[in-house]
């Protein structure tokens, strides 16, 4: 057993990680989802103001499989899931690895509320336990889970409004310092209905267009997943891409080519909902890991 100690001491975590992945795959197979693979290396990532792709021989490593998976939705694949590697340049900390494992699934005919229910069932299936211990907390996975709007969370936990926070440029800092630590402490929490500027690929809410149909799942203060009722209007999507590209340019970031094939396909995409779930993070919560390093075989620094 001598040799690489950090690697050998992770055996228990990696065995459990493998079992969690198996349960996740079984969950989707039983629900009629097709497991798909789309290319990691792509010519045109979705422009996002605060997510940077890693360049790869003139193209980019995906930051998410979102665009290719939506092209599959547009081509008539109604229920698809993928477990894959994604890369986000410069993201590294106890909860981040620049290369990490994403679970994304997309479902035609669904909206973000359907996905909240499906996410509840998935996490319960992945955990295979009625409650979990994480960082000294006992988190009950039985329903109902907590649901709080972004507006309520800002009022409750930060004593301010979303529009004030956006105006002051402090939305993200308040989220990190005052809201995230309060979410999902006794049971998982969905925080939902984000301001449209924070949801570049989401549909606006039909009865309240001041918010977009986006939710995030938090467990034990840790962000686990992000979901949308997907925007299906190519013209609106192009405008939002242009806005995100302009924001990137204004902070000195290199532009990406426009994802024209995605935009061309979007008009044929049915009403759908999609979600990206950080599998390393889910494993962290289920195994009570302090750092993401404990639940992967190799960190970047160990290569």
């Amino acid at each position: 057993m001598p040799g690489n100690w950090p690697l050998s001491k992770r055996r228990k975590a990696l065995v459990e990680r493998g079992a969690i992945f198996n349960r996740v795959r079984s969950f989707f197979q039983e629900k009629g989802y097709l497991e798909v693979e789309t290319p990691f290396r792509i010519p045109a990532p979705a422009p996002e103001a605060h997510i940077d792709a890693v360049a790869s021989a003139g193209w980019f490593l995906q930051t998410s499989p979102e665009l290719c998976m939506k092209r599959m939705l547009a081509a008539g694949y109604q229920r698809i899931f993928q477990i894959c590697r994604c890369w986000r340049d410069g993201e590294r900390g106890v909860r981040h690895l620049s290369e990490f494992t994403m679970l994304e699934w997309y479902r035609a005919g669904a909206d973000y509320r359907h996905l909240m229910e499906e996410t509840e069932a998935l996490v319960q299936a992945a955990a295979a336990l009625p409650r979990i211990g994480y960082r000294g907390l006992t988190i009950d996975l039985a329903l109902p889970w907590e649901r709080v709007t972004v507006a309520e969370a800002f009022r409750l936990y930060a004593g301010t409004s979303v529009s004030e926070a956006l105006g002051a440029g402090s939305f993200d800092q308040i989220m990190v310092e005052q809201i995230e630590p309060r979410l999902g402490l006794t049971r998982p929490t969905f925080i939902y209905d984000y301001p449209p500027c924070c949801a570049a690929l989401a549909r606006l809410k039909k009865d309240d267009p001041t918010v977009a149909e986006r939710f995030e799942l938090y467990i034990g203060g840790l962000e686990i997943a992000n979901a949308f009722s997907e925007l299906t209007d190519p013209a609106e999507q192009r405008i939002r891409f242009e806005a995100a590209a302009a924001e990137r340019a204004s902070s000195g970031k290199a532009p990406y080519p426009v994802a024209e094939k995605f935009l061309a396909a979007l008009g044929a995409m049915p009403d759908s909902a999609g979600i990206a779930l950080g599998l390393d993070r889910l494993v962290m919560v289920l195994l009570d890991a302090e750092s993401i390093d404990e639940v992967v075989a190799f960190t970047t620094e160990e290569l």
Partner: protein
Amino acid sequence: MYTAADLRKGLKIAIDNEPYIITAFDFAKPGKGQALYRTKLKNMITGSTLDRTYRSGETFEPANLEDRKMQYLYKEDDHYCFMDNDTFEQIHINEAAMGDAKNYLIDNLAVDVLIFREKAIGVDVPNFVNLRVVQTDPWVKGDTSGSDSKPATLETGYVLRVPPFIEEGELITIDTRTGEYSTRVKG
């Protein structure tokens, strides 16, 4: 010059022309929001601490410190004594300014003494140091799970987690940047 992406525990930066060391660091990034680099900083002269959150795009000047190659001699009361091998000059640094470096000091260890305005304010030790284990419980034979670690006390008094196969009297390598066990020294 450093950018926010360079921030990490142990980095020394200048704030208002005074040297600060990052004693705790956390990278946070909510949802699709912007990256926040949360730090705890210690003023290397006064020892006072502060919490600062930085964002992408911010830049930092390195702390304006001079490094002097010196050798560790001994500890007396709450002072540590170092000697310049060329001039034989000796200097003393008090315990509070030593930080984690004191966990790794064995006789004759070569260190960089950090000088600010002609005053010694701290010490940089090598990234890797070899230290002997003076106390640890024996490995229970037949335990091949590979998932456990156990505490060990080193010759400097520092206590850390090591693999179960490490025995008393063995020499091990410590990564001083993390304070963690790195490998066993053969022979």
